[in-house]
């Protein structure tokens, strides 16, 4: 089966792309096993339409970076196939590189060069020379708000400035597809918002954006669609709204103070309208039809079995709940995407 044909293969659900169609990224059974036997990415399938902001959400070590490196031609897949901008990443690597912009998790800046020198060099590497390179560099420096710092060496830049310059350097050739690997990790909230604005602007300009993140809020705010990756596998995929809607109903969080979680779970089993119970650190998440209406019954049952509950709260499902259902645990290190915040939003 050749990969770079322009046919649409509906039988296996895999879109084989051409430059003319609307698929920006497609992967089928993409796998990467490292020499030490670690299966970083296990047979993932995904399709990203042109013009989308597609998010890859997962904890550290889930396989996000390995996937990005395969799609960017930096790492060959062990098996499976992928196309970017309609081109096979293995067979047409050079052409893929011409079409994509990449800002990897490790900020790729040369500390000895100034921001302007770095962008002008980057232009040169993409075949933009002379005055055109100088203009493009100046334009991008202005776009990411670094005009004043343009002639300082990048080693003097703050983390946020480095990220913005790295982002600018991925844009010199106006790529069709932009890969951003954890573009806001380690940034303060203000810098994060700036990067979000940049991503929205780049996307509005027509570029497809594939971004990885471990921040639920980022996925929720930025992405048209997202996939949750855990342990090298895609465990959920859809728009943030779809994913949350699939969770159904309300989530009641019960914090258990010193009581046995198993006993609490037993006490609450058979609760009217209960769909699912998920144990989490220090308590339980109950997925119920009517959250508010269930509280009285929950309290009654806990008192009946002499179980001391701490806090009981009700919320609409968040992406964190989606993550919890898909992976059996919460995404660690979250800052501001708990359910309470979700209630405020909705």
């Amino acid at each position: 089966m050749t990969f770079e044909t322009t046919t649409y293969n509906s039988s296996d659900g895999f879109v084989v792309t051409s430059a003319a169609d609307a698929t920006a990224i497609a992967a089928r059974a993409l796998r990467r096993t490292f020499k030490d036997g670690i299966e970083a990415v296990r047979d993932i399938d995904l399709t990203v339409s042109a013009g989308e902001v597609f998010g890859f959400l997962g904890p550290n070590g889930a396989g996000k970076t390995t996937t990005v490196r395969m799609l960017c031609t930096l790492l060959p897949p062990t098996s499976g196939r992928a196309t970017v901008a309609g081109l096979d990443v293995v067979e047409n690597g050079a052409e893929v590189r011409r079409r994509i912009g990449v800002a990897l998790q490790e900020i790729g800046l040369d500390p000895v060069q100034t921001g302007r020198e770095l962008l002008e060099l980057q232009c040169g590497l993409y075949g933009i020379a002379g005055q055109a390179a100088r203009s493009r560099a100046a334009e991008l420096l202005d776009l990411v708000g670094l005009s004043e710092a343009a002639d300082r060496r990048t080693k003097t830049y703050s983390g946020g400035m480095k990220r913005r310059l790295d982002l600018a350097s991925a844009l010199v050739h106006s790529p069709d597809v932009l890969f951003l690997d954890e573009p806001t990790t380690g940034l303060d909230p203000a810098s994060r918002l700036t990067i979000w604005d940049e991503v929205r602007r780049i996307n509005a300009g027509g570029a497809t954006v594939f971004l990885t993140t471990q921040y639920l809020e980022e996925a929720d705010q930025l992405c048209d669609r997202l996939a949750i990756i855990d342990n090298g596998r895609i465990v959920a995929e859809g728009t943030p709204e779809q994913l949350k809607a699939e969770m159904g109903h309300d989530v009641v969080s019960v914090t258990v103070e010193g009581a046995d979680v198993a006993a609490t779970e037993a006490a609450l089993s058979g609760l009217p309208g209960l769909e699912r119970v998920v144990a989490e650190p220090g308590g339980l998440a109950l997925y119920v039809d009517d959250g508010a209406g269930s509280i009285a019954e929950i309290v009654r049952r806990l008192e009946r079995d002499d179980i001391r509950a701490g806090a009981i709260s009700v919320a609409r499902p968040s992406l964190d709940d989606v993550f919890l259902r898909a992976t059996g645990r919460r995404l660690e290190g979250q800052e501001s995407s708990g359910r309470d915040a979700e209630v405020t939003h909705e």
């Binding site: 060959p76 011409r98 790729g108 800046l109 000895v112 060099l121 590497l125 020379a129």
Partner: protein
């Protein structure tokens, strides 16, 4: 080609902006030059036959030139780049991977010319006389810089293979035996039989002999040709291996 020039210009800028990376590589050869001359100038007065009427500085100068140009600086710059992630940025750009290697070697050529010119001028200031004149001096600088470029391939190879800063840094130490198993203090025929055998099979010896001939004895095109052959051979092997490793890097 323009990619090589762009990357070469960047690497050269790095040399100018990081003088602390180059100064130690010049300090060592100049230090050895002064100390060695000081220690043995009475043992080898200018009447010594192999000095052809010159001071010992003329005999030692090629060794210092070799020390000045044989550095792991490019390898270190590359491994630092790998460490920082900029190397990935270059790999994902639509350029030939070989340009990354040739860009680094371009800077080695510039550094080699500058360093060997400086060491040569210090040697002249200390009393050495270039028997072959300015033309000979230019050939000496070309040979030294060429050797620097050829040798740089070793640092690049270690950087790409190990991706480890410490390993790349200490790779420079491997050059010491190569430089000392040569007629560095006395000619071949004054070495012990074992040392002479080792020195004669060490290709680095012939680069030293070629440069030394130009300083002390005059034009000897046979010696120069052998030196060029060694440099080109060494460069072809080390650069060729680096190109192969970078072509298959993470592939």
């Amino acid at each position: 080609m323009s990619e090589v020039l762009l990357l070469g210009r960047r690497a050269t800028r790095e040399i100018v902006r990081y003088p602390e990376a180059t100064i130690p590589t010049l300090f060592i050869p100049l230090f050895f030059l002064v100390v060695n001359i000081g220690q043995v100038s009475k043992t080898f007065p200018s009447s010594t036959p192999f000095l052809n009427g010159q001071g010992y500085v003329a005999f030692q100068l090629p060794v210092s030139l070799m020390f000045a140009v044989a550095t792991a600086t490019s390898g270190l710059a590359l491994v630092t780049e790998i460490d920082l992630g900029y190397f990935d940025k270059l790999l994902v750009a639509p350029i030939r991977r070989s340009s990354i290697i040739f860009g680094r070697l371009t800077a080695d050529l510039v550094r080699g010319v500058a360093s060997s010119t400086l060491v040569l001028l210090v040697g002249i200031a200390l009393g050495a006389r270039i028997e072959t004149g300015i033309a000979g001096a230019l050939v000496i600088v070309a040979l030294a810089a060429g050797f620097g470029v050829a040798y740089a391939g070793f640092g690049l190879l270690v950087a790409l293979k190990t991706r480890n800063v410490q390993a790349t840094q200490s790779s420079f130490l491997l050059f010491f035996p190569l430089l000392f198993l040569t007629p560095n203090f006395v000619p071949f025929n004054r070495l012990s039989p074992l040392m002479e055998t080792l020195a004669r099979i060490n290709p680095v010896s012939y680069v030293i002999v070629g440069m030394r001939g130009l300083i002390i004895d005059g034009w000897n095109f046979g010696q120069i040709a052998v030196a060029v052959l060694v440099i080109v051979g060494l460069g072809a092997i080390l650069t060729g291996l680096s190109l192969r490793v970078i072509a298959t890097y993470d592939r």
